[in-house]
Amino acid sequence: MATFTWQLQGDSGTTLEDTDKLQFAGATFDSAITVSEYNDTTHVEAAGGADDSTGDNPKNVKFISQTGGGDSDSQADWGDGTEDIDAITNAECTLKITFAHGSSVITSGAIFYAYDGTTTTAVPTGVTFQCFESTDIVFTNAEGSAAALALDDNTTATSHDFYIAVSASPESVGLKEAFKLRVELTYS
């Protein structure tokens, strides 16, 4: 019995339900991000448009640079100013994706990426998407399955957690909906 759970981390975390969206926003919920800038906040938006993560201080990771940090590490801001991304903790990452199984399985070949919502090899439309897994030293421009972020393999367990920081930037004005996130893995 396989189970995926997606959570926007925060004080206690907000689990994404079937009809929810992960919203990248400007300074506040529903505010726009300036073209070519990255998200200042991240939220869970319910089907009716409500902010499901309000009051939980949802985590936000903002892309700052690809190689500007020490030892050419990538840099991001997750609330304490600009830092090298290898300084982030699991709890500070935007997403916690849990793959659970009733019996103990190993996972391998896990990948995470954004695509246009229709074809997994296609890049999202009008969005630049960056992400990294906790302990990575550089962002991955994970657009389309061929450019996916490779996630660490996991040894035998009934629950496998993946901590992923995500950041997005609009390439033009307007709501971006041809933009979906996807996780894939193999287990046995």
Partner: protein, 137 residues
């Protein structure tokens, strides 16, 4: 959102001592918090100095068979076998029902010296199947 999927296909493995191992049956029963049936098989094979001599996937009365170490129609004998399930889940679209598992494929692989032959079967949809050949690097 927790999205749960119960598997409908099973792997079958023939062993070098003449036993047949079946996912979810007998020694290889799936029990919560214990090793998965496949991990139990790997442990059993190792502890008893056995080898897997053939593998199948069975689903809805259909059987998908890899070449055994004595291939029925001739050809090369695999060196070993692998098994797994590949799953995927999506989120953040107009139709958000797809945060659930959107794909589930069961596969078995015959490993040769220079390549691997894998049979894939769709466990969630139309039971389509595929064969892939991959060079071992």
């Amino acid at each position: 959102m927790e999205n749960t999927f119960k598997n409908s296909a099973r792997w079958f493995a023939s062993l070098s001592n003449g036993e047949n191992a079946v996912e979810g049956v007998g020694k290889f029963e799936e029990i919560a918090n214990e090793l998965s049936p496949w991990q139990k098989l790997l442990s059993y094979v190792k502890e008893n100095n056995l080898t897997i001599t053939g593998m199948q996937i069975r689903i809805d009365g259909r059987t998908y068979t890899l070449p055994s170490i004595n291939p029925k129609f001739g050809g090369n004998a695999p060196l070993s076998y692998k098994f797994g399930r590949k799953v995927a889940a999506d989120m953040m679209s107009d139709n958000m029902s797809d945060i659930k598992l959107s794909e589930m494929h069961i596969f078995i692989t015959a490993v040769y010296e220079e390549f691997e032959c894998t049979v894939w079967v769709d466990e969630m949809g139309r039971r389509n199947s595929w064969v892939s050949i991959r060079k071992v690097v």
